[in-house]
Amino acid sequence: MKRYAYYMSCINESMTKELDRSIDFWQKDLDLEFVKLHEGTCCGGSNLDYVSPKHFALVNARNIALAEKLGLDLIVSCNTCLMTIRTAKKKLDETPALKKEVNDILKQEGLEYRGTSEVRHLLWVLVDDVGLDTIKSKVKVPLKNYRIAPFYGCHILRPSTVLGRDNPLAPSSLDQLIEALGGQTIPFEHKNRCCGFHTLLVAEEESLNVAAEALEEAINAKADFIVTPCPLCHTVLDGYQSKALKQAHIDSSIPVFHISEMVGLALGYTAKQLGIKRHIVC
């Protein structure tokens, strides 16, 4: 059994609850145990780092320190949380004075940021730790006949100086997972492009244009569904889909799945169990 500390992203506790619930179904099947960090706080969502760089360092040093206390790596299932926490880790590891300042405060809670726990994405755990062969051997309902468009999103790839797992120009981990589950991954130009999430509330029209481009490509390529490792990308591509396509004058639709749901389907769980019916487009 491989154990990990699991970071609870704000969005997975509100709008995309089905993501974490799906993991609960299959984690034992893959010999995994995710210990949820209920003490964890919002990472700052790629905003706190410029609102207050020092609070950003404190909050995320604490998030990582909670995992370090358990002696486990910190696993994240939201791209932006991943990028944000890894950015903070890099800053802390490169700036001893900041690390000391933060640790002096964290003492109050009996915590210390040491830099010993890695911060990794759920997708990387599946591909690198569980392994594609093991995943293949556990598949009960292969996703054959499904044409799947892999949408990686930005913050699992860029900045590559912080992420570094996949080649940001030609990522492959999600494609590999799809194929291990028996699905057919399609060539998808937008696989490493943006969903527009972070400007939805300040530049909505631009964000929806960005999303519509990706949706249009998947629809034209006759994909059966899009899969994404990020709940923020999911929120745009699923929740805002009809608005985005309407703005782009496209009369069509396409379902969008979380990776946790796609894994669940292949491991024999039903769409209802996995919460796929909670999606806006299904």
Binding site: M15, P168, E189
Partner: protein, 357 residues
């Protein structure tokens, strides 16, 4: 010494001969063509040439122009990654043709052996691989991206400006920009709206705004926070990833935002309000209160007009974020809050120190 020199020369010669023997192959360049005076729409021409290992995409294009097709148009000058003239998309990615190795590009081809060469995106096309840089120049003007000296005219030339090492490091990397427009071409928001300020312009604005010799920081900042300005960046990091000089462009964009929050306050624009909401929520609950985020960013009227239809669908699907009282605080919030506030005191002290300076 002579022996060592000879040895180095010999090894260099052997290396060249080896490369020559092993490293030569036919490569096809699939080049975007469009002459608006003649063509009704763009098309691609294939040029197959014999290319040696070590040759760049620009050298190949020069060869094609000199020996195969003199009508092919592209911009180039220094051929050494300094002038920024030969920005174009090679195998789909915006970069300099003069620093792109053909051999490395061969590994990235979608169709084996065929290197695709296209003009930069998001700038008007002039001919073939040449784009019009004027919109970028116009934006540099709109955001006053030059130093407006703090020194009175009468003192010019009589006195030196002293710049501290600390200050220099703040804009050292930003001055590496060669205006090749690769970041402009890769920008997600510019692709969606040509009015957007664009990453190269933001980088330059940052560089000017942190320069103590400049007197128009406030004017520039006031322009930057307007529509299509700094708050419209969607944090996709494509600019930074494509920068041919590895400049951390997002750090510059974040720094402008940090500056805007400090100088203009957290209630200045919807972008500022949106960013500040994260700080408020984390301090209060440790979690983001998503339900009220649109209202706090854009007000009730905007929220009702823009999000009501979607909210109805979300209610039906039971995926609406919980209202504020039902957002559960992180476990151990009290001690977290105390630590958060202690950091607030640190930040205040930092500000006092930097203002004293």
């Amino acid at each position: 010494m002579n022996f060592r020199k000879e040895l180095i020369n010999h090894s260099l010669m052997t290396e060249t001969i080896d490369q020559h023997q092993e490293g030569k192959r036919d490569v096809t360049f699939r080049v975007f063509r469009f002459n608006p005076q003649v063509d009704s729409k763009p098309y691609f021409d294939d040029y197959t040439i014999s290319a040696e290992r070590g040759i760049t995409v620009l050298r190949s294009l020069n060869y094609i122009k000199e020996h195969v097709d003199a009508t092919l148009s592209f911009r180039a000058f220094c051929q050494a990654g300094i002038c920024g003239s030969c920005g174009m998309r090679v195998n789909g990615i915006s970069k300099l043709a003069c620093t792109s190795q053909v051999w490395e590009e061969l590994d990235k081809c979608r169709e084996p052996g065929i290197i695709k060469v296209e003009p930069l995106r998001s700038l008007p096309m002039i001919k073939d691989l040449i784009v019009d840089m004027d919109p970028l120049v116009d934006k540099m003007k709109r955001y006053s991206n030059w130093i407006n000296s703090t020194m009175p005219l009468a003192e010019m030339g009589k006195k030196e400006f002293l710049v501290s090492e600390e200050e220099f490091h703040r804009y050292d990397k930003a001055t590496d920009c060669i205006l090749c427009a690769s970041c402009v071409s890769e920008c997600s928001i510019l692709r969606a709206n040509k009015e957007y300020v664009s990453p190269a312009v933001l980088l330059k604005s940052y560089r000017m705004n942190v320069d103590s010799r400049d007197s128009i920081h406030d004017v520039r900042l006031a322009e930057l926070v307007k529509d299509h300005g700094v708050w419209d960046c969607t944090h996709c990091y494509r600019c930074q990833e494509s920068c041919v000089k590895s400049i951390p462009i997002m750090e510059a964009i974040h720094a402008i935002r940090e500056d805007a929050l400090e100088c203009r306050g957290p209630k200045d624009t919807s972008g500022a309000k949106h960013a500040e909401a994260f700080m408020e929520d984390i301090e209060k609950k440790g979690k983001l209160v998503e339900a009220t985020l649109p209202i706090r960013t854009n007000g009730m009227v905007w929220t009702l007009r823009n999000l009501l239809p979607m909210a109805m669908k979300m209610i039906v699907k039971r995926r609406t974020p919980p209202p504020p009282p039902l957002v559960k605080s992180s476990k151990g919030i009290k001690i977290f809050r105390a630590m958060f506030r202690e950091m607030t005191e640190h930040v205040k002290q930092d500000h006092q120190k930097s203002h004293k300076k």
